[in-house]
Assembly symmetry: C2
Homo-oligomer: 206 residues x 2
């Protein structure tokens, strides 16, 4: 069992520190937040902070456990569905857009500053694992030995992260389903046709 009975006090203060960081995130840039700020906001001694986390980054990184679980679920569910390849692929996408949309303010604060780096890196890491896993069960069989596996993973996740941050910067005006559909159309058609001949000339007539 992974739960090694941690003292309630520890759990409490850790939660308070997490919440404090999230609160501060909405008020100021991540970089300008100091350990003192966090400790004050959490009503906790500064030395207490160091008893649990080694740095701001450490604290931030530790706050991405739930998200991973959520996305893994969604992926499993999508893969288990019937339907075309595109319907079942990239199952994390919609869930991620929705999650980000629901916590829009937080995410936008995250993405904005330089501190977004850690957050985005964490998310990127989670998504990379998902995509990598998904591709081993699908893409590989269809397109063996053509483009390095990991290149496709990075391509897809990079594109996704870019669309996600763009969407958030735009105040998430488009409904999640729409962005999701657009992203996946771009991505899936790009990924699964690389063995085919190039597309025809551009249809200027219509």
């Amino acid at each position: 069992m992974p739960t090694e009975k941690i003292d309630r006090r520890s759990l409490r203060t850790r939660a308070m520190l997490r919440d404090a960081l999230i609160s501060l995130f909405q008020k100021m840039d991540y970089e300008t937040i100091t350990i003192t700020d966090i400790a004050d906001q959490a009503n906790v001694g500064r030395s207490t902070f160091y008893a649990h986390y080694t740095s701001k980054d450490d604290l931030l990184r530790s706050s991405f456990a739930g998200l991973r679980a959520l996305l893994v679920d969604q992926q499993q569910e999508a893969l288990a569905r019937r339907g075309s390849f595109e319907d079942r692929s990239l199952g994390f996408s919609l869930a991620m857009f929705e999650h980000a949309g629901n916590h829009r303010d937080l995410y936008r604060a995250l993405v904005a500053g330089r501190g977004g780096t850690i957050a985005l890196t964490s998310i990127r890491q989670i998504l990379s694992d998902l995509v990598r896993n998904e591709l081993t069960t699908t893409y590989d069989k269809a397109n063996p030995h053509f483009v390095p596996h990991e290149l496709v993973v990075q391509y897809v996740v990079g594109a996704f992260m870019a669309v996600l941050t763009w969407w958030l910067d735009r105040r998430a005006e488009l409904p999640p389903e729409r962005v999701d559909a657009m992203f996946r159309k771009l991505a899936v058609q790009g990924i699964f046709r690389i063995n085919e001949p190039p597309p025809p000339a551009v249809p200027l007539s219509n």
Copy 2:
């Protein structure tokens, strides 16, 4: 004329500061570099630094002028070429891979640390401008009013940056032409087929 005759001494010290930062980049993380370090490395007074730049970030950002010019050239050249849509599209890609490959050590140092953020953001900005410009002359006509213009820009640039950093992390083993080809195949086919029906079922037989 944009050159407002700047004192030679200024030009010299600015160059020395730039070089100093680049040197230090190879030795230590961007975050751990201090203004003092830069000034020392450049053999310049610390106050002199502040006479020219307001911060480390400011200095770093100012070091991306040449790159932009190079990439714009490449794009123009590629667009002027004859050939298929894919051949002419995304003309910055190969140039960027080659530039990064030639200055591999520097780029890898840039990408590695957290300070890469500023560098990567600068590059991302440059590339976004290029792609946006390119799409207004091509993509728009082919796929009007379907996916927001800017979404495609972000999608492409995000994917590119991800592939680029992955490639650099891998010590740039693949030749630039290869990565370029792979990236553009993924990107172009993904971008220019969004009006067409979905791809056929996966060819498991072969």
